[in-house]
């Protein structure tokens, strides 16, 4: 399954949403996840502290050359990607660091071949970019990240209208920095024009900022896993995400400490 994560504006928390979906699936133990990025400056290097090693043995340039020479199969790509947590791999495809041709060929290979059970691609490029179009065409689900503000919801609705041909069938809405005090998810989904069943949310939590700045965002998912009071709402959010992914992947994914 391939998931593309897009947003209408900058700074809406697209990277946080991508990382949350990736961690949710990886930590449930039901599937392997590959996290990638299509854009100029990768936020994952900072928030997940997953920079490529200094020797360059895992760089996208090498992977690109290996792909061209058919040196490994789809599963082999995992050996060249840093592991963030068990079952979660990161492929650094930052356009600002590597050549565009290398990034394009690697992303196309990853999306075309099932390297892992789930591939999540955070797309920060313009919707008119060729690479964006390629990623969206390969994706099974396109997650549109927005915030609860009316301005952002209106922008999301306009984006869906403008790119109706690509987004209509596959698009799901993801409301980041959600709060019940603003409005309900049903009302927000109705504003954007997406069914409520295709809507997920991520509650506002100041610990996202704290752990992101420390480069240790993975820690907050450990807190949610054990229902810590600091990440209590995140537990319900992740369960919602997993039920959404489970329905499409056809595999049951369980989250949290199971009752004996």
């Amino acid at each position: 399954m391939k998931i593309a994560v897009i947003s209408t504006d900058c700074e809406l928390g697209r990277a946080t949403v991508s990382a949350t979906i990736a961690h949710a699936i990886a930590k449930s133990g039901g599937a392997d996840v590959l996290l990638t990025y299509a854009g100029e400056v990768s936020p994952f290097n900072k928030i997940l502290n997953c920079e490529s090693d200094d020797t360059g043995t895992r760089s996208i340039s090498l992977i690109s050359k290996l792909i061209q020479s058919n040196s490994f199969g789809p599963e082999g790509i995992r050996n060249y990607c840093p592991k963030i947590v068990p079952n979660l791999y990161y492929l650094d495809t930052t356009l600002g660091v590597y050549k565009r041709e290398e990034v394009e060929s690697s992303l196309e290979y990853v999306l075309n071949n099932s390297a892992t059970d789930v591939v999540i691609c955070d797309v920060s490029l313009s919707m008119d970019d060729e690479l964006t179009t390629t990623i969206l065409e390969y994706s099974d689900v396109i997650i549109l990240v927005t915030n609860p503000g009316l301005k952002y919801l209106e922008n999301a609705r306009r984006l869906l209208e403008d790119y109706d041909a690509i987004l209509k069938e596959k698009c799901a809405l993801f409301i980041n920095r959600y709060s019940e005090d603003i409005s309900s998810t049903r009302a927000m989904a109705a504003t954007v024009g997406i069914e409520h069943r295709n809507t997920c949310k991520l509650h506002y939590n100041p610990y996202f900022v704290t752990f992101s700045n420390k480069g240790d965002l993975s820690k907050i998912y450990d807190l949610a896993y054990v229902k810590d009071i600091r990440a209590l709402s995140l537990f319900a959010d992740i369960k919602e995400i997993l039920s959404f992914v489970s329905a499409r992947i056809g595999r049951k994914l369980k989250w949290g400490v199971q009752k004996e």
């Binding site: 309900s184 949310k201 229902k227």
Partner: protein, 179 residues
């Protein structure tokens, strides 16, 4: 998860405590009730509508079939609370025993597995206090969920911590949390 809350007493004190926890935990809740007082929580005073992430549906008769009257299915919600009735699919039943006990409610409480909360009785129960209703009034007036009474929170935490798979301390902290 399906909750049944029944008994001839003011059930709002218990339901507001539960709603406070489920809101803090980020759960989607459906509240099916026959109590028109909940109209105060809905904008415009309608019989159905949303209060935070709780969808409230008020009808003169509440039963399991009532859910077909709304445009959602039971799968759209994490938690469903039936106020004032007992359904066969309930995971947790809470019997609120007031000063006057209805015979039928006592029969339902005895014939089904349920948790019991005594309100208004001095021995082993939670006594009525003015601030409980003051807090309920504040919730309905200002549309902000607050803790009704720490004694009620402790009582509910005691038996809900297990089924909800959380610690009693986490439950109490989530209910007492002020945004």
């Amino acid at each position: 998860m399906v909750f049944n809350i029944f008994g001839k007493a003011d059930r709002r004190l218990i339901i507001y405590t539960l709603l406070k926890y489920f809101t803090a935990a980020g759960n989607d809740v459906l509240l099916m009730t026959d109590n028109p007082q909940y109209k105060r929580l809905i904008d415009g005073g309608l019989s159905f509508g949303e209060f935070k992430n709780t969808y409230i549906f008020i009808d003169s008769e509440v039963n399991k079939e009532t859910i077909t009257d709304i445009s959602y299915t039971s799968n759209d919600f994490d938690i469903i609370i039936y106020d004032g009735c007992v359904t066969d699919d309930a995971d947790i039943r809470i019997f609120i025993e007031g000063l006057v006990v209805d015979e039928y409610d006592a029969y339902l409480a005895n014939s089904n597995e349920c948790f019991k909360i005594q309100i208004g009785k001095k021995v082993g129960g939670i006594p009525f206090k003015g601030f409980q209703y003051l807090n309920a009034e504040m919730i309905e007036s200002y549309h902000q969920l607050i803790e009704i009474d720490p004694a009620i929170t402790n009582k509910i935490a005691g038996f809900l911590a297990g089924p909800l798979a959380i610690s009693e301390r986490t439950f109490r902290k989530a209910v007492a949390k002020v945004k």
